[in-house]
């Protein structure tokens, strides 16, 4: 697969994930107390951030340490936000 076609597929997937999460949020209702749904939304968000970083910013071909730092950072943010939504203060 060429870089160009891969990036186009990723763009379409990002658009689809955005519309999908919006539809679920407003049709089903990610209401209060729905922790599983909040965590799902955070997981989708982190996945979107990951693909923008790795493919659009081209971090997929960055040195391994730099790429690992990026991935660990965004996963940590996702886990932190999930923990806060799961265990309210």
């Amino acid at each position: 697969m060429t870089v160009r076609s891969r990036n186009t597929i990723i763009w379409l997937a990002l658009m689809g994930a955005t519309i999908g999460s919006f539809a679920i949020s407003h049709d089903v209702g990610w209401h209060l107390g729905s922790r599983a749904l909040a965590i799902t939304a955070i997981a989708i968000t982190i996945a979107k951030v990951r693909y923008v970083g790795l493919d659009f910013m081209d971090l997929r071909r960055a040195p391994t340490a730099f790429r690992v730092l990026f991935e660990v950072w965004i996963v940590t943010l996702g886990l932190l936000l999930s923990a806060i939504y799961c265990f309210p203060l």
Partner: protein, 195 residues
């Protein structure tokens, strides 16, 4: 017949895109935004009813539209960088102009959204949620404006003369715009999706 070939990501040498100094700026900015995201989530967890009710007053469709606009603008920038790597500066200039236009559209929709709030009597001091809402989206909006300026500078730089574009500067500018997109992806989820 011209045959265009594109190397795969795996076949290119490993390197950090853009100028190293830019990544220090992005990392610092990203850290500050992360603190704001976590702070928002923490305060939300202690006042969930207030936040939930306030989020119902947001125009989620404008939030969705702006997310799709920024994602598309990021893809345009990707296409621009690919074009520059293949010495097709005129094509790249068109992609960059399209991306900047998306940025302007984002600002226009944000202005409509802010206008709706102000006309409805909602301001940054209405309650804690709206303080966060205006602060987070306002700081992001400043990044969008800077990003548009960078995109216009990139476009002007590659059409000004015939020399090869400085790929480090181009990649750096592109990464900044993708970073602006990343911030919004998280904001969209926190403000409009998780309610």
């Amino acid at each position: 017949m011209q045959i265009e070939t594109y190397c795969t990501a795996e076949t290119r040498a490993k390197r950090i895109p853009g100028e190293p100094g830019l990544w220090i700026l992005i990392a610092g900015d990203w850290l500050i935004f992360n603190l704001i995201f976590v702070s928002y989530a923490a305060y939300r967890s202690s006042s969930s009813v207030l936040y939930h009710e306030s989020q119902q007053r947001l125009n989620a469709f404008l939030g969705l539209a702006n997310t799709l606009i920024l994602l598309t603008s990021s893809w345009f920038v990707v296409r621009a960088v690919e074009s520059i790597r293949h010495d097709r500066n005129a094509t790249a200039a068109r992609w960059l102009a399209a991306s900047a236009a998306c940025g302007v559209a984002f600002i226009a929709l944000k202005a409509i959204e802010y206008g709706e709030k102000f006309l409805g009597g909602i301001t940054p001091v209405t309650n804690e949620f709206f303080t966060y809402y205006f602060a987070m989206t306002g700081i992001h909006l400043v990044h969008v404006i800077i990003g548009i300026a960078v995109l216009i500078w990139m476009r002007n730089d590659i059409v000004r003369d015939d020399k090869r574009a400085n790929i480090d500067l181009i990649e750096g500018g592109a990464c900044f715009w993708h970073f602006v997109d990343i911030i919004w992806i998280v904001l969209f989820s926190l403000l409009y999706i998780i309610r």
